[in-house]
């Protein structure tokens, strides 16, 4: 076993140490409690390191009180930790200022906030919102709801034959009527890395604002919102080793300042009378009610955890493991990869001839291999690819080549069970 570990190729880490998933895995109690578990569903939600789990408990034991109100010391400490988490997120994304960070429940709520606050205020009938065929339902449905309410148009940029964004077609769809481009950074079904720098440049040249869905990107590569120059960026905490129930909407300060409030309530107001209410500045204006204080603090700890490993090292690890998984799966007769022509990060979608993805997932589960099977909340992409469902394996910092080997062994076991081993 130790020989195996030593032979595993290691990725250089930012601090000079080796990036070793076996060592990293020891920081995740779930693997201790579930020995033998091969967890390949990190794209749905990542497991949590002890630093996050224990940090949440420590916060509740030590510093918990409501924020932004109390005069007493405990509330002041709680507020300081909550706002420090906001600064932590801003630093992680290289935002210009912490006031550009709005805490939300997750990427879904972030996109809905933009649709309801920015969209309702600035979009007019005939304006266009441009998305891509790669999108998760959460970056489609909020715009459809807005379309039906405002009479705007939802335009869809196609993918190319290889399953990546067709940049040329995208460029042609941009018109002066395009007011917003809403696009994923890393596709949740295929793991495909979208050339978002080009997307932003092209969109801005047309005067459109850009929202990027970073759910699969933030856990897997360094994200610099100022270098990207995007207007909005959203991600979910639970996919990057943080708690559920917390997420982030980043928006440029000038954009946030121009946006009217979304939800009304406590914490987002300056003064209230029955005749008139005045509102707080961003970001408080968009955070009505008591926020998920512990969630934000837990997210900060998760970002600390990722930065400790080094985001560049995480990206190299995810890219190398994705390439390895693609090769290993393709080497099995009867396996087809879905949308895997371009560079991929952390996600591999595939099909096995003669076995439905749901049957695969059930059989894999009996081999302690946890994958996702289905449409992955991307039914329009499934339709475009001509499939009902795919099997999807996705990786995290604790995943390694042994996990891929277990996945391949499970594919072969499924083929044996279904009597499909003649092609050997």
């Amino acid at each position: 076993m130790s020989v195996l570990i030593q032979e595993r190729p290691m990725v250089a880490r930012a601090d000079g140490g080796a990036f070793d998933p076996v060592v990293i895995r020891r920081q995740f109690p779930v693997f201790e409690r579930n020995p033998g578990l091969v967890f390949l569903d990190t794209a749905a939600s990542a497991q949590k390191p002890a630093a996050v789990i224990d940090g949440l408990a420590e916060y509740y034991r030590t510093d918990y009180a409501n924020v932004h109100r109390g005069v007493y010391g405990l509330s002041a400490r709680s507020t300081a930790r909550f706002e420090a988490a906001r600064e932590r997120v801003a630093r992680f994304l290289n935002a210009a200022d912490a006031s550009e960070i709005v805490f939300v429940r997750g990427a879904t709520e972030g996109i809905n906030l933009v649709a309801q606050a920015w969209g309702l205020a600035f979009l007019k009938p005939g304006d266009q919102v441009l998305v891509s065929e790669l999108e998760h339902h959460s970056n489609i449905v909020p715009w459809q709801m807005l379309r039906d309410r405002l009479g705007i148009e939802l335009v869809v940029a196609p993918i190319d034959a290889g399953g990546g964004l067709d940049l040329e077609a995208f460029a042609h769809l941009l018109t002066p009527r395009t007011k917003l481009v809403a696009m994923t950074h890393v596709a949740n079904v295929t793991g495909g890395l979208v050339p978002v720098e080009r997307v932003v440049d092209l969109a801005h040249a047309c005067g459109a604002k850009v929202l990027l869905d970073g759910c699969q990107a933030v856990p897997r590569l360094p994200v610099d919102v100022r270098a990207l120059d995007c207007d909005f960026y959203v991600f979910s905490g639970h996919k990057c080793y943080g708690p559920t129930g917390i997420g982030v909407l980043y928006a440029k300060r000038a954009v946030l300042d121009a946006m009217p409030p979304w939800q009304g309530g406590g914490d987002m107001i300056r003064t209230v009378t029955f005749a008139k209410t005045t509102y707080q500045d961003a970001p408080q204006r968009f955070e009505a009610g008591t926020p998920d204080i512990a969630g934000a603090i837990g997210l900060g700890l998760a970002l600390d955890f990722m930065d400790g490993l080094g985001m560049a090292a995480i990206r190299d690890h995810e890219a190398a493991l994705t390439d390895h998984a693609r090769d290993a799966l393709l080497a099995v007769p009867g396996v087809t990869l879905i949308g895997a022509d371009g560079p991929g990060l952390g996600v591999v979608s595939f099909q096995v001839d003669g076995i439905h993805p749901h049957d695969l997932a059930t059989i894999f589960d009996r081999h302690d291999v946890a994958i996702r099977a289905g449409h992955h909340c991307a039914q329009p992409l499934m339709d475009r690819l001509g499939v009902v469902a795919t099997a999807r394996a996705s990786f995290g910092v604790y995943s390694d080549e042994d996990d891929v080997a277990a996945l391949v062994a499970a594919v072969r076991a499924a083929q044996r069970l279904f009597g499909l081993t003649s092609a050997r």
């Binding site: 003669g354 439905h356 993805p357 749901h358 059930t362 009996r366 009902v388 069970l417």
Partner: protein, 160 residues
Amino acid sequence: MMDLRDLYQDIILDHGRHPRNFGPLPDPSHLAHGHNPLCGDTVTIFVRLRDDRIAEVSFEGKGCAISTASASLMTEVMLNKTLAEAQALFAHFHTLATGGATGGLTGGAPGLPPGLEEEGDRLEPLAGVKAYPARVKCATLAWHTLEAAVRGGGTVVKTE
């Protein structure tokens, strides 16, 4: 732990790969679409009723081995059954697949009228699904769709 073979028995794999009564009926008297939004699986059930009897039944759709085999076996046991017999088989199957108190390995849950024991036995391989809660909906989709077809027709059934 249950063996995978209890779920994927040869008869299930066979019906999954070579479904019987697969394809549309021309001019069905009753028809319904079923859909499992969770996985995207779809099924359409075609029925020709004659004097309260299922004179012809077929299905088409896209689904996993469990849903396809369940639909295939269902069309086999439902052929030439009266609506009352079909209802009894539905109840029997439901108990079998969801792990109700009855419907054990000997087949013939209480309420299965005399004369349907053989049909009950033929459905027995589907009993394995009850140990896989995430897959029960796969097995029941076609049955709920058939029920909708003969009751009203034209409705879309969802299991999720």
